[in-house]
């Protein structure tokens, strides 16, 4: 194990450095060993899909990427910076990593517009007018230009989730994390959210997506990870994994969900 004196100067060539690299991630919640040594590398424009049975640790893995959960062991490298080094300014790093949650987590006391602009103004110190302009751009992008003055409570689940995506995109992140973003939605509202994500992938955004939407995983994912009981069971190209699953666990899982 190496201990670089400066977290921003990792060993190796910066040009070859992937966008994100997870090294031997372990996570315990008390005595519960949720992640048992996971390695993962994401290059630019990758759409990394993570699937697995419930309780397998896939959400925890995603939340380890932006250190919402601090890995008990292991390292998270983002653009060559070690996020797990306690000297790293996590607030700065999180500006570049957007995340969208299953429960939307919009701020209910703020309008849609204010939900998007507040971090621009308070974190990125963007001026009011510029922030509004950037927010508009993203709200129009997710098809909610007309809802800017509404409150989250007045929107459908699908609309709220699109606002949450716009809120994350307005920060101009270099990586987007999606944590089962369609699981809390009524079936007829899933499509509008997936559509936004598909367009985003088409625009070249690097994405890590924990999902139960098997169709989306196959069509949009460039790489897929199947984890179970905190370990990577199988990984590869999604279509290939669907067509010819190597492990019995994946075969069993696909049999249940497809």
């Amino acid at each position: 194990m190496t201990f670089p004196s400066d977290p921003k100067a990792p060993p190796g060539d910066l040009e070859d450095e992937p966008l994100i690299r997870l090294e031997g991630i372990h996570k315990w919640f008390g005595d519960l060993h949720v992640l048992r040594g996971i390695d993962l590398t994401l290059a630019q424009r990758d759409v990394q899909v993570v699937i697995g049975p419930s309780g397998s640790g896939k959400s925890t893995l995603l939340r380890c990427v932006n250190l919402l959960e601090r890995p008990t062991l292991g390292k998270v490298w983002f653009e060559g910076q070690d996020l797990t080094d306690i000297r790293t300014d996590l607030n700065e790093a999180r500006n570049h990593i957007g995340i969208v949650f299953q429960a939307f987590n919009l701020f209910p006391h703020l309008t849609v517009m204010r939900n998007v602009t507040i971090a621009l103004e308070k974190v990125l110190k963007v001026s009011g007018n510029d922030a509004t302009e950037r927010a508009w751009e993203q709200l129009v992008r997710v098809g909610l230009g007309t809802k800017a003055e509404a409150y989250p409570g007045q929107l459908s689940g699908g609309q709220q989730q699109r606002v949450a995506i716009a809120r994350a995109l307005a920060m101009r992140p270099r990586l987007m994390l999606f944590d089962e973003v369609t699981s809390a939605l009524d079936p007829e509202l899933v499509g509008e959210v997936l559509e936004v994500m598909i367009r985003l992938a088409g625009d070249g955004m690097t994405m890590m997506v924990v999902t139960h939407e098997m169709g989306f995983a196959r069509e949009v994912g460039t790489r897929m990870l199947f984890i179970d009981e905190g370990r990577v069971v199988e990984q590869g190209e999604p279509r290939e994994m669907y067509r010819a699953p190597q492990s019995p666990r994946l075969r069993e899982f696909l049999g249940k969900v497809l």
């Binding site: 607030n91 971090a119 989250p152 409570g153 949450a164």
Partner: protein, 380 residues
Amino acid sequence: MAAVEVAVRDEERAPDVRGPTAPLPATTLGLGIASIVAILGGTLALQLNTVLTGAELTPACVELGFDEVTGGTGVCGIVETLGSDAQTFLAILAIVTGTVAMVLGFGWFRRMDSIRKREQCITGGVIGIQGVALSLLLLWFREGRPDLIAKNFLNWGVLEGYGYQFLRAARNTLILAIGGELGGIVIGLVLAVLVISKRRAVRSPARVYINFFRGTPLIWQLGAGGLLLTFGFNASISPFAVAILIFSLNTGAYAAEVFRAGIQSIERGQVEAARSLGMTYGQSLRYAIVPQAVRRVIPPLMNEFVILIKDTALVVVVGLLVEQYDLFTLARSGQATTFNATFFTAAALGYLVITLPLIWLVNRVERRLRSGLVGFVGAQ
């Protein structure tokens, strides 16, 4: 049975489906109302009549020594009216009508064939119980020594000339309570932020402060606080200011718990969303959590305020100057001068004038909060 006509109309309001009434339930309701009106309205009217026509000292009152008491004539009027035949008649009337309403209402409500009839039976019976109970209570009370009660608690004559002082005392009570509440909110907010810290070193001092002020009697804090400030810190501040300070420190401890609960009631996802957008811990508290928590803590804070208004009475242990007297201290001073407790009755009425509108307001706010519309739209 006549068919209940329910005209189905295309209107905003739902139709009234309570159905028609009938003589029996209507009579039951009428008797119940008659009972309560006789004992409450009747008694009040009799007393008012005595006041308006002017009471006089009867031989019986002279025998009780009322001729030598300030305001004795008024007290005599109250006692004599209470013992009058008219009062006896009203009480018996209320008992009879109330009993009939009870019997009819509770005997027949199950057999009623419309909602309106049933409700009238039940309501009539319930009000009848209240009329009968109040009447029996009054007759019982009359058998004791109502003259002593009236002389000591309802002798309005002794209050003469105290009007201005009572107004000033009410103002002082409000200053104490509002000052203490405002100070307490500021202290409480700071304490709440400290006490939710993940670091024990930050948390512990705040916890010690809160437990100390919640765990010792306010009356002791007032007494000891004054001495500590005067002799311990050599601070020469007025006892009134000391009182406001102690009320602030005490309220701060309770407000801290209210704020803490409010902050902790906000879903975890809110902090996570804020932190994921790059906000610091302080920023996520300030822009995401506290604005939501503040709305939730308004009703409990208002309840604390009502409690504080009444607790200001404890300043009686602080040596206030005469012009600083609050309602309770004034009442005690008046009672000490005149040996009459009517001052306390007046003080209690003063507290009610202040607290009742507040209690009404808290209930209203709580109802709105439960219906989900407070400040922002559609929040759960």
